[in-house]
Symmetry: C2
Subunit: 239 residues, 2 copies
DNA sequence: ACCTTATGACAACACCGTTGACCTGTGAAG
DNA sequence: CTTCACAGGTCAACGGTGTTGTCATAAGGT
């Protein structure tokens, strides 16, 4: 075996599979993304991917060392797609909101990749560009450097963490998802006020609210707090 | 097969396994937690768990319908351990801060289990108690019901999401962790100001800040925003 | 036209969760 | 005490998974 994976630059022989498909890392990543989108993230396995490509599963190991490797490539593609069309408006809360929602939506669109890559620092081009962009928004808004970095860190981690959390939810098998909805309806919706007064008093809101992602709300709270911080910084600077 | 799992209350015959172990739901959950802690979350499988217990894997299906069911029980146990010693002080931001830090710390104490269970609704005893407690803090603080539920949702998800994110980081192999630190030092610490002005200007802060969890900072921002909301609610109510 | 070798295919391995059928000892009832 | 229903442990099997050692072959430089 030694080294199964040949770096892309060294690849030359474009030999088609039995079913006539010419493989490439790009085609594999694209097909994986398509599979996830069409049949859910649990539908992604090396064997299924091989079948979808018209190739033997083991052929994929000529392009990726293992499944994790493939998922990272998928994640990288994801970052690119999320940020590609973003343009700053100069209104920093609006810009941050847009960026946060984009990152979150990107994660939700490809749950399995998101869960896997949320906690990793790649140091690759797309990621660096994103860091520079977000820091720029904050510094231009007037946050002093240490505060800008703190806010940046919390902002990015919040987007990634909620993205991963909500992704894990959507990656659940359908039966488990329905079971969760039922728990909210049947368990939390029916607790007696005598033993659980606060749940009973708010059960209507709980059942309605808990099925959706809380990221939009959390993001608004984040922006509110950031504005408050900026006001204090300015007041201190002026005083 | 029909109904394999007998509810705990109806269990009476304590028949030991071939290896002399007397099974119970509690023993199984405790063993699962131990396995996860000792050998990583990927070491948890029905078969391994059976081996660790000294029982046939299929025996576990007398106590849990499927693996998911078992994971929910593990998650509930985790919640219970985090909340067991908490006492309210009446100062709602302080209480929320304490609760948030406890949940986060609980996740970090059991990284692999936290990653697996953060996104699940268990509907079990410990979780219900936690929901009631947190809702109580918010409602007593003066948040009207729909707002209390929204804030509750964001608060819990934030704690769970950051817990899972930071857990995933600490669960990484040592080599990978060091590689990440090096990326911050060597890649982000050395980008030229000409191409990446914002990163270059803040690189000192970036390198220092990015290694620690951003949850405490995010939590403070959350509390700031919640206070602002409460002020607005009161002003509206008074006006 | 030849030869190297990149790359696809195959078969096998060691796992996984889950279930239907079977067996056995417990513990309550008589 | 004995009986005996059945809770609960065991066994074997099914269809899935990621991964790898080996082999075959056609692509492409010479």
């Amino acid at each position: 075996m030694s080294e199964r994976v040949v770096p892309p630059a060294a690849r030359r022989r474009r030999r088609p599979t039995k079913q006539g498909v010419v493989l490439s890392a790009e085609l594999i990543v694209a097909t994986a993304l398509r599979l996830i989108e069409e049949h859910g993230s649990e539908a992604l396995s090396v064997r299924r991917l091989g079948r979808a490509l018209g190739a033997d599963p083991s052929s994929l190991y000529r392009y990726f060392r293992h499944t994790d490797d493939l998922m990272l490539a998928v994640a990288d593609e994801l970052i690119g797609r999320s940020m590609r069309s973003w343009r700053p408006t100069g209104d920093w809360p609006a810009d941050l909101r847009d960026l946060g929602l984009r990152m979150h939506a990107g994660a939700l669109a490809h749950p399995r990749a998101a869960v896997l890559s949320a906690h990793r620092v790649t140091g690759r081009a797309q990621e660096i560009q994103a860091v520079e962009t977000i820091l720029g928004v904050l510094r231009r808004a007037g946050f002093p450097d240490p505060e800008a970095v703190r806010i940046y860190h919390a902002f990015v981690d919040q987007a990634l963490a909620f993205g991963a959390l909500d992704s894990a939810g959507t990656a659940l098998p359908r039966a488990a998802r329905e079971a969760e909805a039922q728990v909210w309806r049947d368990t939390y919706g029916r607790l007696p006020a005598a033993t659980h007064p606060h749940i009973a008093a708010t059960s209507r809101h709980l059942v309605a609210t808990m099925r959706a992602s809380s990221y939009p709300a959390a993001l608004e709270l984040f922006l509110t707090a950031a504005r408050t911080r900026l006001d204090h910084v300015r007041a201190d600077g002026a005083g």
